[in-house]
Symmetry: C2
Subunit: 292 residues, 2 copies
């Protein structure tokens, strides 16, 4: 049995007329007679009760007609679906977010994708560090990443979407919580809560800013995520210098202050050249409008 048999049978059954069905299908009438008879023989069931003057659909034929349409519709759905997947209008995109960027950028990003590519599903991997995200892009477990450049140059490409200033987070009862304006120099001697790992881009910017102000920061505690870092600040274990987007994560006991004289850290949208499917390209196009 082939789809041809189903298409032919369905058309004849709908019209109850071999001649007209043949016209619709652009084949000759004997071809139809032959194909339908072939189908009936394979099934061992009479689907159409026909005299030379009229064609009736048998009860079995009625059932099989419904099944035939189910099959033909499923084929159509499959064809359209697979084409939408192939041209990037449908599918699953796994996006990684570094540190605080999930809180500040995910909402706009998700909304834009939902709007422009309603059939695209997003899988969010939040709170990953930049190196882990690069590894994910390379391994193919991530399709896109919001991270902080630079990145190792092995196939990972990126586009800077924002340069955000660093701000300082202090406990509410800290002396800097209420003074007029805070500069990096004011942090001299303070215990610092920093991100874990020495390849943190934010850490590096913090150290660089302090050196410019003429001192080296005292790293007292380390946190693997911004949420934990801020919790330690709230606990009074030190001050934290974090990207401004951390303000999207308000925490009782923590006050954010602008920090004059600090470096800025860039945020970028990254992907892997090899694994950039049409779907990833489509999402990148949409995000190009969100983050011009």
């Amino acid at each position: 049995m082939e789809l041809r048999h189903l298409r032919y049978f369905a058309t004849v059954a709908e019209t109850c007329h071999f001649g007209r069905a043949a016209e619709v299908l652009h084949v000759a009438q004997p071809a139809l007679s032959h194909a339908v008879r072939q189908l009936e023989q394979e099934l061992g069931v009479e689907l159409l009760a026909r005299t030379t003057r009229q064609v009736r659909v048998t009860p079995a034929g009625e059932f099989f007609l419904a099944e035939a349409w189910r099959v033909l519709d499923a084929v159509d759905a499959g064809v359209h679906g697979v084409r939408r997947i192939a041209d990037g209008r449908r599918g699953l995109v796994r996006i990684g977010f570094t540190g605080t960027s999930a809180f500040s950028h995910l909402p706009h990003l998700a909304r834009a994708v939902k709007q422009e590519l309603p059939e695209v599903e997003l899988e969010i991997h939040a709170d990953l560090l930049t190196p882990a995200q690069c590894a994910g892009l390379r391994a193919g477990t991530l399709d896109l990443a919001v991270l902080r450049p630079p990145v190792p140059g092995d196939g990972v490409e990126f586009r800077v979407i924002e340069a955000e200033p660093l701000v300082v987070a202090v406990p509410v009862d800290h002396r800097l919580a209420s003074v007029g304006s805070v500069s990096v120099g004011d942090l001299r001697g303070e215990p610092f809560v920093t991100y874990a790992g020495k390849d943190s881009v934010v850490n590096e910017a913090v150290v660089r800013s302090c050196h410019s102000a003429g001192f080296a920061p005292r790293r007292e505690h380390e946190a693997a995520s911004t949420a934990v870092l801020l919790a330690l600040v709230a606990g009074g274990l030190g001050v934290g210098v974090v990207p401004a987007s951390a303000r999207s994560l308000p925490l009782p006991g923590v006050v954010f202050r602008d920090l004059t004289g600090a470096a800025t850290v860039r945020l970028a949208l990254a992907w892997h050249r090899e694994h950039a499917s049409p779907l990833v390209r489509a999402v990148l196009d949409v995000l190009g409008d969100v983050f011009p």
Copy 2:
């Protein structure tokens, strides 16, 4: 696109190996390569990413594989379903019941069919008179009928399944409601509530019984169904002589009494010779065991 393409693609995608898939399908390997490529060209989508050393299913291919199985499974289901319909193991059977027989016989009948032919659906048409049922059988709007013979001899065949005595229904406060035993003669002079129409088989039996007892019944009111007839009896408008199976329809205010000297009326299972499909035959076989 033909089912062949789906079968071939599905097998290759499952095994990720053209050679082994070819063995499974009992075709040569180049035939597979050709068919899959044909499918991909028609879709305009790469379903399998292949080097000469390994075959991977693309994301689009993954989706289409699922759709292909849906289609192939739907085809299988259609084939099996239509065969079950053709050999009478599945389908819709419309059964008519005359007067009271629905209440007394339908439960056993439905239970037996459900047990032996679980895929057969019953459509019950209750409270039809025998002539209406014969008309239904002839017109093809009924497949089976539980009715009271005789029937006109134009293709309708039947098998007697029961000969039931007539009983008398009287109001609770009636003089006959509590005497030892009631005979037809005791009904002399009583107003009768009868079935409507003059070709009612029960009516005929009642009149015959009264004549044997030496009087003609006084028909005071007529009812189109047993339920209505009994309601009139309950209302004190007269006595009703009905088949014993009417006892399955208890009604407050009505008392049933055995009736000595009355005729019996037969109940039969009827069908039309022309419209007796394998399905109807199968149901008849089952009911042959229920009503031997």
